[in-house]
């Protein structure tokens, strides 16, 4: 792998202060940290196909308020090892082990998108380790379940066909600008310079101006989950710690388009909801506003 010769900066972005790893049954998970080592700990989780360095702007804002921010690359993402099995319970176990690597008795769990749901579920499993939960647009609306009724077997077969071709699969390399353009199409409310920055910290350079996202091509949306859609909002109800549900007001993929009416009934006794006028990528669109909201919540 060629060392990156591209140094692309972005306003407010700062490299992590520390890097380490955690083993999950032999699988190495890359962990990065910002902020003082003796600060109040925050475990910060990313969404699907993202990586810990997507928080290069958001995490330093928390760290500036004295928090020790610990973020990890989920298996198959960023600099963590690729795995044979990608499953919800594997991600939960990995998150539990990263949490266990933080020595403080209680840790605030802050997750975006899939990690919002993941850390909310984890909080229900290890309540003795959790001080607060912040779920950033990672909730499934209790009123409008997006999982279709029945099973689409063509999608199942497509997933299986993809598994049979794993040996031949690799993410298509492209120039920095091309990769940035692809990402920008999903996050078009953000400047393209943000996508260019993310390429330099989340992709590997495989040739002269040739880059490839590090995420494992074996990770594909699952065709079928043996899970009922009402389970996801119910995980909110199980949380005993103070919980902040941040809902993105502007609908659109890859968000789940949760609404206050759909989430409200599931908020626990110490839960509250805040709606921000953003799309799904809240930590990247409004990092300062979100950081202020989270810092205020964690300090309350």
């Amino acid at each position: 792998m060629m060392a990156s010769r591209h140094v692309v900066s972005y306003p407010g972005a700062r490299r992590p202060d520390r890097e380490r790893s955690v083993l999950s049954a032999g699988l190495r998970l890359s962990v990065v940290e910002w902020g003082p080592t003796d600060g109040r700990p925050v475990l910060l989780g990313h969404g699907v196909f993202d990586f810990a360095r997507v928080f290069d702007v958001f995490a330093p804002l928390l760290a500036a308020s004295g928090f020790r921010v610990v973020a990890w690359d989920q298996r198959g993402h960023g600099d963590s090892d690729r795995a044979h099995c990608y499953s919800w319970h594997a991600d939960l176990r990995d998150a539990a082990l990263v949490l266990a690597s933080i020595e403080s008795p209680r840790v605030a769990l802050v997750g975006h998108s899939k990690a919002g749901a993941l850390l909310t579920r984890l909080a229900g499993a290890v309540p003795h380790r959790v001080s607060h939960v912040v779920n950033i647009d990672g909730m499934q609306d209790g009123e409008r379940f997006l999982d279709p009724d029945g099973l689409d077997l063509e999608t199942v077969r497509g997933w299986l066909d993809g598994r049979l071709r794993l040996a031949d699969q690799a993410r298509t390399p492209a120039t920095l600008d091309q990769l940035a353009e692809r990402r920008w199409k999903a996050e078009h409310s953000l400047p393209i310079e943000w996508s260019r920055y993310l390429v330099t910290v989340g992709a590997e350079q495989v040739g002269p101006d040739l880059w490839r996202w590090k995420v494992d091509p074996a990770i594909r949306p699952r065709a079928f989950w043996p899970r009922r859609p009402e389970w996801s909002p119910s995980w909110l109800s199980a949380v005993e710690a103070p919980l902040l549900a941040v809902v993105a007001a502007r609908p659109g993929p890859p968000g789940r388009d949760a609404t206050p009416a759909g989430i409200g009934p599931y908020l626990p006794a110490r839960g509250r909801m805040e709606m921000l006028d953003t799309g799904h990528f809240v930590p990247f669109e409004r990092p300062a506003e979100l950081a202020a909201l989270v810092v205020g919540f964690l300090g309350s």
Binding site: D81, Y86, R93, P226
Partner: protein, 214 residues
């Protein structure tokens, strides 16, 4: 006969040829139970099968590789079995325990390639039941044992959710007969029988029915 090693994702899977396929013959794929490994010879209950017999070691079991980091679920085992099916071609499938559940999934996912399925008693038949289970995060291991059966597989495949409705969807998609020889009846097995997508049989009769269906 020595095992064939298939590559599936990050693991090598051991696929054992137990009996050669006669010219123009048909095949039977055996899927073992949780914590087990493939038999070393054709089981007695399958002695009357006239075609070739293969047996697959799931990831984390027998001669197959451990999935480093775990994360096992029946859907990954389904993909393991699908890799074996791609190797041997159209076959009947017979599964024990968790292998029975995978046999059902395979029959529904690849109806043109599975001529029939037998579901038998064995470890892991029930899984974690039809509802989500409370999480146990206190025993999360940091290191892998390095030996099969992988303890993570043993733990994770006793806690996976098996909704009866999902089993019914797969059973109804199958083209060949789904034959239940199992005496244990977890909710997913009861469900596929109740909707008429599967039929009860004995193990001895199951092989005869598979011969007819091939």
């Amino acid at each position: 006969m020595s095992a064939r090693l298939l590559r599936h994702g990050e693991v090598g899977l051991a696929l054992h040829p137990l009996r050669d396929v006669p010219a123009g013959g048909h095949r039977l794929l055996l899927l073992h139970g949780l914590g087990e490994r493939s038999p070393s010879r054709v089981p007695e209950w399958a002695a009357t099968w006239t075609g070739g017999v293969w047996a697959l070691d799931f990831a984390g079991h027998g001669g197959s590789d451990i999935a480093v980091g775990g994360g096992y679920d029946p859907e990954i085992l389904l993909a393991d079995a699908d890799a074996a099916l791609a190797e041997i071609g159209r076959a009947a499938v017979a599964g024990r325990g968790v292998g029975a559940y995978v046999a059902l999934l395979l029959a529904g996912a690849r109806p043109a390639l599975i001529s029939g399925a037998v579901l038998m008693d064995g470890p892991g038949l029930a899984g974690g039941g039809p509802e989500q289970v409370s999480l146990d995060m206190t025993s999360a291991p940091a290191e892998s044992s390095g030996a099969t059966p992988d303890p993570l597989a043993l733990a994770e495949l006793t806690r996976d959710v098996r909704p009866p409705a999902l089993a019914c969807d797969f059973a109804q998609a199958a083209r060949g007969p789904i034959l239940v020889a199992a005496k244990e009846r977890p909710s997913w097995v009861r469900a596929i029988l109740e909707i008429g997508a599967a039929q009860e049989t004995t193990l001895a009769m199951a092989i005869d029915k598979l011969e007819v269906a091939r």
